[in-house]
């Protein structure tokens, strides 16, 4: 299925990542957004508020992030594709509803334009310090998808992908931008609607008497419903059986909660999104994501100029973590250098996946600016020695 042309602003644009993300959501078919103002993310919903009345949909500014992050889920069960947008402090407030979306398998998208933290932190400056929170922020075990664009073009492209993955796997999808990518203005090409692939919601074809709301299909994902279609279904955040009824026992808990993680296995393995360069002969590989991958690009060029066999592995889908790819890589290089705008988050995942086969070298940064390419270069040079 391709995109509904009503939401697609086909053409060549010069816009920032926040605006491109909004256009991606519209192209993906999002017709409902709920938000609460917070720097540096607000431009996404400001644009949505301006665009949606002529496209045909709803933007509502809610009273807080708790409200925004659950209003979108009400909208999804009403039949909408929906999303919300925030940054650090708001993301913290949304954690409970990320858990609710995971537990109730509500497909929806959370855009987090990351800024320096903790607490109010650095409202106008970049960081990548919410990566672990995106994965583990809500209580309990569950799986999520997190995507890390590194340009306005990718803010468009990956937001479309994010909505599609949300529908396919019925999980909350996090768009992990950062202040730099969100506010960076570049060329963004929006193709024609017929060239944008859309994953429609997989509604059940069974009649109400045969349908069970949380009965997994072959891909471990249950078919969906919307309110008002005569199924008289029940959704709860309590541990529930296949009928959707609360079931407080160890067997149901094990069966249900394992599936919430297991259904994402294809994205952790063969379908993980990444970008690689010079891996054929690399002895040192820089593993990075988001804005840091663009700084790392310069460091890699400088390393190559000095004759160091350095390669690039850019994580695009950070969650589920591309564990197998990193393990394979670790098996054939000397070191993995991991720069990120935090004091060490994804580097722990890289370490875990590498299983000691290669040295894993963090290049941390507390946030507020990007790395200097020379800092990353220094780590590459030392790793290659």
């Amino acid at each position: 299925m391709h995109a509904d042309p009503k939401g697609v602003l086909t053409g060549v644009h010069f816009i920032d990542g926040d605006h491109a993300c909004c256009e991606g959501a519209l192209a993906a078919g999002a017709r409902f957004a709920a938000g609460y103002p917070i720097t540096p993310s607000t431009e996404v919903v400001e644009r949505f508020a301006s665009r949606i009345p002529t496209v045909g949909g709803i933007f509502i500014q809610m009273e807080d992030e708790l409200a925004a992050s659950i209003a979108i889920q009400g909208a999804v069960w009403g039949g909408a594709k929906a999303f919300t947008v925030t940054s650090g402090p708001g993301f913290s407030l949304m954690m409970e509803h990320i858990g609710y979306a995971a537990m109730t398998e509500t497909p929806c998208v959370f855009v987090n334009v990351q800024r320096g933290g903790p607490s109010t932190g650095l409202p106008t400056l970049p960081a990548q310090a919410d990566m672990m929170q995106a994965r583990w922020g809500s209580h309990g075990d569950y799986g999520v998808i997190a995507l890390c664009p590194n340009s306005p073009q990718e803010c468009f492209d990956l937001t479309v992908t994010g909505f599609n993955l949300a529908e396919e796997f019925r999980v909350p999808v996090m768009m992990m931008l950062d202040e730099c990518v969100g506010h960076m203005t570049e060329k963004v090409v929006i193709p024609g609607a017929e060239k944008i692939g859309i994953t429609p919601r997989r509604y059940t074809r069974l009649p109400p008497e045969e349908f069970r709301l949380f009965q997994p299909q072959a891909d471990k994902v249950p078919d969906m419903l919307r309110a008002g279609d005569g199924y008289r279904f029940h959704v709860t955040g309590l541990t529930h059986d296949e009928r959707g009824y609360p079931s407080m026992n160890v067997d149901t808990q094990d069966r249900t909660i394992r599936r919430l993680q297991d259904k994402l296995a294809p994205l952790a393995d063969e379908r993980a999104l990444s970008e690689a360069e010079h891996l054929e002969d690399a002895e040192v590989v820089v593993v990075s994501y988001g804005i840091t991958s663009r700084v790392a690009q310069r460091a890699l060029e400088m390393a190559r100029e000095r004759g160091i066999r350095a390669g690039k592995f850019r994580i695009v889908s950070a969650w589920p973590f591309p564990e197998r790819r990193i393990r394979e890589l670790a098996g054939r290089v000397k070191a993995l250098v991991v720069p990120e705008l935090n004091l060490g988050q994804m580097v722990h995942e890289v370490s875990r996946a590498a299983q000691g086969r290669a040295a894993v070298i963090p290049v941390s940064h507390a946030g507020g600016s990007v790395h200097r390419p020379e800092t990353i270069l220094k780590a590459i040079v030392e790793a290659a020695r």
Binding site: I58, A67, A68, I70, A71, H97, G228, T236
Partner: protein
């Protein structure tokens, strides 16, 4: 509300009841989930019975009625009603319902939850939904305590009452829910008790076919925690108290209808006013500023287009 109005209301269930049904409202409950979790003497079941009768009397298409609950004893209502039903997170039934209603305006969206859920953790959402005049029907079962967690102080617990977290007596002033609802902008505000089953049923029927943010507070007994700790007897004693202490005063000023530990309970319909709803205001603002460029929201998608 006069007795004549009550008589006019259809309280008979206009459908055939199965011969082996123990309760006439069985066909509208998820009987495969019985027995329910509520204690003997609890009033929540009474409110559900009234709600079911109101739904049927209102002749609404039940496929288009959705119930949204938060967390707590009353939060379990969503799980027992054989309707599209959502048991959400603590305090967030109203914003969930807001999204559901806006995405699919043909639904009648009923928020059915308790006093702690709607007015402590969810208080902010209540006042904003009332301010917006969001087309939601909010039914609050007020048992004056946090019952599910063991009888702690709620923002509705009257002064001097003993609770699990106020062992020496509550000294914080309590919220007057009907006054709060009126001040925040609700289009319809009423209070009844579980003694007033006919009036409650009628009020529920009335709001089901009424536009705008509607609020009914139902005072309901919690013999297990609230009454036991305060030596107030059982469920029957609560009914006797409601009968003796209630004064039906339609149109009373909500600000003068505070509840106390054992004083007068003013009940009735206090507010019934016309205010433009959220979707009407959205429509008029957008057509005024955008004219023909405005596209009516088409939010819900069947997945096949």
């Amino acid at each position: 509300m006069s007795d004549a109005t009550i008589e006019k209301a259809t309280l008979e269930i206009p459908v055939e009841i199965p011969v082996d049904a123990i309760n006439p409202v069985e066909p509208f409950l998820r009987m495969d989930r019985m027995p329910h979790i509520w204690c003997p003497g609890c009033g929540i079941g009474t409110t559900v019975n009234c709600f079911t009768r109101a739904l049927l009397a209102s002749k609404r298409n039940l496929d288009k009625v959705a119930v949204v609950s938060g967390i707590g004893c009353t939060g379990r209502v969503a799980g027992y009603a054989r309707l599209d039903s959502f048991h959400t997170t603590h305090g967030r039934a109203i914003p969930f319902a807001t999204g559901l209603k806006l995405a699919n305006p043909e639904l009648d969206v009923v928020v059915y939850s308790g006093d702690g859920d709607l007015f402590a953790i969810g208080g902010n959402h209540f006042i904003h939904a009332a301010r917006r005049n969001m087309d939601l029907k909010v039914i609050c079962v007020n048992n004056l305590t946090y019952a599910m967690t063991g009888g702690q102080t709620a923002p509705t617990t009257p002064g001097k009452v003993i609770s699990a977290t106020a062992p020496y007596g509550v000294f914080e002033p309590a919220f007057n829910l009907v006054a709060l609802a009126e001040a925040a902008g609700a289009a319809y505000v009423a209070r009844w008790t579980t003694y007033h089953v006919k009036q409650l049923s009628r009020a529920m029927e009335e709001i089901l076919s009424r536009k705008g943010f509607c609020f009914i507070e139902v005072l309901s007994p919690c013999p297990t925690l609230y009454q036991r700790r305060n030596k107030m007897g059982d469920g029957l004693d609560a009914m006797k108290y409601y009968k003796q202490a209630s004064k039906i005063r339609p149109g009373a000023r909500p600000s003068e209808c505070d509840l106390t530990r054992d004083g007068e309970i003013v009940v009735g319909k206090f507010v019934d006013r016309e205010r433009p709803g959220y979707l009407e205001l959205l429509h008029s603002q957008m057509t005024e500023t955008l004219g023909e460029r405005y596209a009516e929201p088409e939010v819900s998608c069947c997945g096949e287009c």
